[in-house]
Amino acid sequence: MEVRARLGIFLCDCGKSLNNIDFSKVKERAEKFQDVVYVGLSSCLCLKEGLEEMLSVVRQERINRVVIAACSPELKENVFRKALEEAGLNYNCLSIANIREQCSWAHEADVTDKALELIRMAANKARLLQPVERKDTPVNTEVLVVGGGFSGMKSALELSELGLRVTLMEREPVLGGKLGEFEGFYGFETTPKEILSSVREAIEGNKNIGVLTSAEIIRVEGEAGNFTVSIRRGEEKVSRSFGAIIFATGYTTEILPQDFELKPDVNIISQRKLVEMLEAPAGLEQRPGTIGFVLDVSDENSRLPFLSTLNNALAVKEKLGSEVYVFCKNLKVDSEGMERLYREARERGVVFLKFEEKPRISKEDGRVKVEARDVLRGEEVVLLCDFLVAEEKVLPPEGTQTLSSMLNIGTDSRGFYQDENVYLYPVASERRGVFFVGGCRGDSDLARASTDISSAVTSFIRLLSPRDVMVEVKPQKCRACLTCIRVCPHSAVKLVRVETGEEVAKISGVACDRCGICTAICPAKAIRFEGYADEQILAEIEAIGESL
């Protein structure tokens, strides 16, 4: 049965500072609004004293819907809601009129009438607010981590430390990823290989982490808290449930990219080849006297090529003692520690040359000739080197597009996950419960990957806390037209069979991000968004009309 609304209106003049509102007039007029049983004025509603007074009035007057006319809701809404719950009211029975930022402060002249109208809008809406039930949707706490490189393994370890079960999936037969391809991090005591083997060991000894190698995702269904993932391992296909999925699928490099117009050669080589040489210098016929690096021709966005160049240049100096020249357009040293690496390289005698126009590269007497105009010196430079290390372009790994369309998640212009959407940045995606960490978000280094992992883990923990269902499909009105399923940006709606046997749309409380796009678009008006329901928005509009 509908309980008749008993409205209490609590005005706050913010320490008597809202001088262009005549609160006595507001109080007098607001008392005449429909269903209002109390109007009071405070100067510090958000402080202990003000809150306590409000609570006692709410209890005394048996107020069941509260209107607060004060500062902007995002400032103190949670304080007020909590207080109301103490008084035994559902937190959703509160409507706030923003009479400070959007009224008193926004206008110079007397705005008593406007304030009154804002309060009437809030009161109209308050009358229609429904108590919200907190539903504890069961959430699967096991996490699937896709990609067994550094980022993937680290994510698995961090989650397992919190006592969570993790399945770590890798496409290749062994864990490891790209980390082993680095020669070393200059100035670090441990080598990448050592880091890798220690992480791998930790994974292997961990009871909470299950490892699936040579495994690939073929389908992802469901939503945050309850994903069903179909995985193929050779001939075998398995279907498993997870609460969240962390993608750490990494990146790939195109050695000697197309736009570089170079062909691999005995002495035009990739960074990886150079690393192999550095690992076994004894295998070289003779020590190379000069080694050149060319950078920044095909891709200005990536940091990784700069990082490997600086590291490898220093390693060449140390292990081979060759002369090292680095040709580049712009040197990016914005990652942690890179400035130091750069300085050290210069101190050790690595020569950096800045070009504007692409260097011309040719062969001469079995050596590689690089001709470029050094814009800083303003002169043509000709270098003959024994080896030329060419830039590698950082690209999304194979299968990224397939995964992206399977997940219904977009990629950025370079094809990496998590484009620069400010709200989702850095690791979230438009699908709640799906996160991206490390190299698959564009190029990354260990520091950035580690930050990513922490944010993803924190976000997942937040996902586990119970959420209120605010957006719901009324099954009897649903025509199963699938519109909401098609438009939901978070893939939070699916078709389910209800008891009557009919199929209707159902919104997952966990996956829903509460945008109301489905509510607005439903042609049968079958979706209700508590707090922003049609009748509630229309009631606010009605209040504007009433004074006309």
């Binding site: 699938l482 519109t483 678009i521 042609p523």
Partner: protein, 220 residues
């Protein structure tokens, strides 16, 4: 599903000229699903009619309703019986079948169509539908790779594409639309059944459905 489109307001206003009390009836089935005449569109049209009539100083009184399936007499009676009494005219937002069903039941009230019924189609994406079937009464999709040239080819050709096919296999009349015959070719080629396309098809029996059409189930 049946696809329809809202008529321009001007046309609807002209139909309603002289009537003061109107019942706007949506249909909860096809026209809801194709966004032309569900509960929401009933609200939008009613709002528009109110705005238009009050602008002319002659406000209409509007009753809104939505019938689960306007083509079902029982449902129409159940939902509209009482509401019809208070109005002078009925505006149907169902397909042509729905409007005629209402007209047949409430014979003393004029019934006006607020939508144009356009075709039978499939949703392409949200808010977009494409024609798929022309109800020819003589289905031959088995030989056409599951693509009906009767409605998906601009000319309804049966033996292959016309010479107007545009570059990339687009239709002569609209570079945005696919040439059905190129689609049929590709589909049959994929299934290794191109022989079906190479066969000659006789002129179609356009009399397969005798107008007015009527079907009665043998077991009825």
């Amino acid at each position: 599903m049946i696809i329809a489109e809202r008529k321009p307001l001007e046309e609807i206003k002209n139909m309603l000229a002289g009537y003061k009390k109107i019942l706007v009836v949506g249909c909860g089935t096809c026209t809801t699903i194709c966004w032309a005449g569900g509960e929401k569109e009933v609200g939008v049209l009613s709002s528009q009619l109110k705005l238009a009539s009050s602008g002319e100083g002659n406000e209409l009184s509007i009753v809104e309703a939505t019938v689960e399936r306007q083509c079902e007499k029982e449902m129409v009676i159940e939902e509209l019986r009482d509401k019809v009494e208070e109005v002078e005219a009925i505006l149907s937002m169902g397909c042509g079948v729905g409007a005629q069903t209402i007209a047949e039941i409430f014979e003393e009230k004029p019934v006006f169509p607020a939508v144009n019924t356009t075709f039978m189609g499939m949703p392409e994406k949200e808010g977009a539908w494409v024609e798929m079937c022309g109800a020819c009464g003589d289905c031959f999709l088995d030989r056409m790779g599951g693509i009906c040239p009767v409605v998906r080819c601009a000319k309804g050709l049966l033996n292959g594409p016309c010479g107007g096919t545009r570059k990339g296999g687009k239709c002569e009349i609209d570079p945005e639309k696919e040439c059905a015959w190129v689609l049929i070719y590709q589909r049959l080629e994929k299934q290794d059944r191109l022989d079906l396309m190479r066969k000659y098809y006789e002129p179609k029996n356009y009399g397969a459905v005798q107008r007015p059409g009527r079907v009665e189930a043998a077991t009825a």
